[in-house]
Every structure is written in C-alpha cells, then in structure tokens.
C-alpha cells in the first residue's frame, strides 16, 4: 500500500469547480471558460514527454490572465469558421489532494477527452492525461490559480481547438 496517510479530502468546492469546468467545455460555452480562473492565473497544456524532459514548450501556454482572455478571442473571433469543429466530452476521474499551502489546494485529476466530429462515424479519443491544479478558495468560491494539463498522449491524432 502506498496510500499517503497525509492525503486530505478534496473540498466539495474543488470537486464542484472541476465538474463545472468540464461541463462548461463540453457545452462549448467558450466565453465562460476564463471565468474559472483567478485574477492571476496560469493555464497550460503540455505533453508528458516535454514535461518529463524539463522542456518548456507546450501545446498551449497562457501564463497570464490576459493570455487566457486572448485564447477566447482566438477561438471565437480569429478562428471563427477556420477550424473543424467537434463536440468535446471530458471524462474526469477522482481528484486527489496532493498537498497545499494553506490558502490554496493542490489537486490532481485524471481525465480522458473524447471528441465527436460533425459528419464522422463514431467518436474518438483525442487525449488522455491529468490535470495538475492549484485552486484558490476565496470568499467561498473556487477558482484555478494554476491549471496544468499534462497529456500522456505523445502524438495527438489531430489538433485541438477548445481548451482541455
């Protein structure tokens, strides 16, 4: 058994944040996505391969709230009609508390992302991986201060458009 006896329960607010986040993306409410982040926030999608080698390049690297906002602009304005759309479906596993520094919760959650493309037969797996999140609990509401999406998937089967 390698159960960490220090493991703490994941707060109900954090669990709710994770499931609402996934639901927002699955419903393609892209404009609402940035509202899940704190005023100072970092969002990143990286491959496990780069992370394990200590290489900083990412699929998506929005290290400020301004960039997180700009991503919504790319999707809704710049790329409008310029991408092959799909419906995402995030399947989240059980979040695990991996520590914290008093104010913030550090939580890791495994996920699988399936997509359904218009006109295609069936649905397919786009990526699997884990979220490494730092969640700020302020005034009773939970927001991501840092959301790092680490993809196990080494070679993506296609590009992705929407945040993961």
């Amino acid at each position: 058994m390698s159960t960490d006896v220090r493991a703490r329960p994941v707060a109900a607010e954090v669990k709710a944040l994770l499931s609402e986040y996934a639901r927002c993306l699955d419903e393609l409410r892209i404009a609402d996505w940035e509202g899940f982040f704190a005023e100072e926030a970092h969002y990143e999608v990286s491959s496990r391969e780069n992370v394990e080698r200590g290489l900083p390049l990412a699929h998506v690297l929005d290290h400020t709230r301004a960039r997180i906002h700009d991503r919504v602009t790319y999707i809704m304005q710049v790329w409008e009609g310029h991408y092959n759309a799909y419906w995402p479906r995030h399947i989240l596993g059980e979040p695990v508390a991996i520590g914290g520094d008093g104010e913030d919760s550090h939580v890791e959650t495994p996920f699988a992302l399936y997509i359904t493309e218009a006109g295609s037969v069936g649905s397919r797996l786009l990526a699997v991986g884990r979220y490494e999140d730092v969640v700020a609990l302020e005034d009773g509401s939970a927001r991501f201060r840092r959301k790092r999406v680490i993809l196990d998937t080494t070679v993506l089967p296609r590009y992705f458009v929407y945040p993961i």
Partner: protein
C-alpha cells in the same frame, strides 16, 4: 516493382504544369512508391537538430519513409542514423521515443541478446558455437544512413546516389544559415501531432504564399502583404524543388484584438525579416517572427502525416527571450497556434475533398514562368511537382508535344 510502376500509367498527369491530379493524395500504390523513390530515394530528410542530442549516447527514434531509424550521438560524439532493426531477425531494438545509452554504450536486442556498438557494429552474437563456420560479425552491423549536418540540423539519406548535402542545398544555404546561424541552439521542446492530410499537401503549403494573408489573420496584422518578400528557388529548381522564402513583417503599433500583443512581438531581430524553407521533399526550417522551428515530416499513409514541430532558442539568449520564444512557439506557430491551427484546418479540408477527384489548380504568380516569385505567389507549387514527377518517374500526358509542358531541364 511491377505492380508499383503500373500505377504510374494509371495517373493521368495533365499537360498543363499548373494542374495537379487529386488521386495522388489518395492512392495507396502511389504512396508506397513515394516511400521508396522519395523518402528512401536520393534525397535528404531532416530528422533532428544536434541540440536535441547534447550528451554522448543520446538518441531519438524516427522514421525515414517506412524505415524505422535511431538518430543518436555515439560515444565519440558523432551523429549516427542507424536502422532500428536487429541484423539477425529484424527485432525492433529501441522502443522509447528518446533516451540515453551512455551507461551501456551498446544497443542490445532483447530477443537473442545480440549487442551492437553505438556506431552500429555488431560487437557480439550470443552463443555463436553452432553458427555457420564463415559467420563474420563485421557482416552484421546495423545499416547506417548517410548523415550530414547543416547548421546543426541533422539530415540523412538511405541512398548512395544522393549528392552531398552541401551540394544539394547550395542554392538555399543562405536561408539555412540565416535561420540556423552557427548551429548553437537550445532545444525548447517539440509538439507532435498528426495532420490529417497527405504529406504533399503539407509541403505545398510552404510554396503557397497566396494563402498567407488570405487565411491568416495574424499575417494580416503583421502587414505581410504591404511589407513584401520573395521566394527563391535553386538553379536546379525543376529537379530539386527546394524553396526559400524571405519576407518582412511590420509590427503594428497596437493590436486592439489582443490584451497581450507580445504574442506578435519581434524581440530577437534587428529588422523584422522572416524566412521559411522547404527542403525537398518535406522538411521545413522556419524562422518567423521569434519562432525558430524545424518541422520533421513523417508520412503515415496517404491521408495522414505525423509532424514534429521542434522549437529552439539560440545559445546565450536570456531566460526572458527563451520564454518569449517558448510562448510564441507554443501559441503562434505550434499546432494549436494562432497561425498554424488555421493551416491544419485548410490542409485537412483539401485532403477531405480530394475524393472529389479532378484536379487542383495553381494560379497566383503563374504569369511568371520561372522564379523568383513574390512572397504571396503560389506559382512555385509547379516546381515542387516538377521535382516530384522527376523523382517518381512520372510524365505529363503529351509532355514534350509543344502543349505547354515544361521543357526537360538538363542538369
């Protein structure tokens, strides 16, 4: 070869050199012949950059057409490209994407424990007692590709007939040198993605300056059309279809669209010069805005292509500049980037509708029969396909009959 070559008679390549039959994006036999005649033919494929393999024994796995290879730095520091199949029964030797072999200084096959040096020689076969009496380890080395470096970029070919790399790329070496400098780079990582398009559709896109402002909002913001630029081709462009595009951008004073406009800022160059090169058949060197990237292109069947976007900083640059390059390499020119995502969509859609048969047409800039062309032309796609037909042994219908087909170029 019999069944392979018959496909060449089946493809009706139009006499007009600006028309491309869509079957070549779909046909399995054409694809198999391309792997043999182009990806294993007398051409150089870019497989990496030295800075990805900084330590003795570092390796990464790649494919040259259908042939799996190991790209590695041997214990003498030499870059080697070895076929990733045991000389005995063909077992895959290394299965990790990358790694280091310095500890063992050898590649050992798991199946019968044959051991090879990092330069590919068979060091020992286990229990050789009952082998044929003339068994000679020196006959069982791993096949090696020829390797040549340019600015630290690693090129390899499985053909003895390829000219020396320096000769092959001589006419675009100026562009390679401007992009790669002294070759002392720092590897920032790679994004790996399958583009749902034939490898030629992906390559054509580099010759196609027409789409640059038609498709890309970011290039309109950077005023590429007003700033101008040109496409350079080598002397032997009908046979060695490399292209080197050199163009300028104008950084706007403000970009109201973005809250953080630094995404489009140029901070590493005195002047806003940009360049992108396609090294025939399909290797890309990109030095655009502040993203310095190499793209390694590995076909995965007629309708899919795996592309690695490897991104670099220059040695000695500050952490701040490295970070800036990392953000641009991720968010501007990465597969999910502001610019490059749009390319992938367009290329996938060209592939999807190749089933419509018929021909694709190349128009912009074709009033000029020969290069150089302006940055925003697409005329060079004709030369890509001229080199392609030459490599494949294809001819145009009625070629040489005075119907507009290009004359044979004597080399």
């Amino acid at each position: 070869m019999g069944t392979n070559t018959s496909v060449l008679d089946r493809i009706q390549w139009p006499a007009e050199d600006n028309r491309v039959p869509r079957e070549i994006y779909l046909d399995e036999e054409i694809y198999a012949l391309e792997m043999e005649r182009i990806f294993n033919g007398p051409y150089w494929l870019m497989l990496g950059h030295e800075s990805e393999l900084p330590e003795l024994g570092d390796y990464k796995r790649m494919d040259m057409g259908a042939v799996p290879v190991i790209v590695l730095r041997d214990m003498e520091g030499e870059i080697r490209v070895l076929v990733n199949a045991c000389a005995h029964r063909g077992t895959q030797l290394l299965d990790a994407e990358h790694g280091n072999l310095a500890k063992t200084r050898a590649i050992t096959c798991i199946y019968h424990a044959w051991r090879f040096s990092l330069s590919g020689e068979l060091q020992a076969a286990t229990m050789p007692e009952d082998f044929p009496v003339d068994f000679d380890t020196s006959c069982y080395g791993l096949p090696r590709a020829r390797v040549a470096l340019h600015g630290g970029a690693i090129f390899a070919t499985l053909s003895d007939e390829a000219p020396e790399l320096a000769h092959d790329v001589r006419d675009i070496a100026g562009g390679l040198d401007l992009a790669l400098g002294d070759g002392k780079l720092v590897f920032l990582g790679a994004q790996k993605v399958v583009l749902e398009a034939n490898w030629k559709i992906i390559a054509e896109n580099i010759y196609d300056g027409y789409h640059v402002v038609a498709l890309h909002k970011a290039f309109r913001l950077l005023k590429v059309r007003a700033a101008g630029g040109e496409q350079n081709y080598g002397e032997d462009y009908e046979r060695r279809g490399h292209v080197w595009e050199e163009y300028r951008t104008i950084e706007p004073d403000e970009i109201p669209l973005l809250r953080d406009p630094s995404l489009l800022h140029i901070r590493t160059k005195e002047e806003s010069t940009n360049r992108i090169l396609n090294i025939w058949p399909a290797s890309v060197v990109s030095d655009q805005v502040d993203t310095l990237a190499l793209r390694y292109v590995q076909p995965r069947g007629p309708e899919k292509t795996e592309v690695h976007y490897a991104v670099f900083a220059r040695a000695g640059e500050s952490e701040e500049i490295k970070h800036h390059r990392t953000v641009q390499g991720s968010n501007l020119f990465g597969p999910q980037g502001f610019i490059s995502l749009e390319d992938q969509t367009a290329l996938a859609r060209v592939q999807t509708s190749a089933d419509a048969r018929g021909e694709n047409v190349v128009l912009k800039g074709t009033l000029n029969r020969f290069p150089p062309y302006r940055m925003l032309d697409e005329a060079g796609i004709r030369h890509f396909y001229s080199a392609y037909r030459h490599a494949m042994g294809m001819t145009q219908v009625g070629a040489g009959a005075g119907n507009g087909a290009l004359p044979e170029v004597t080399s």
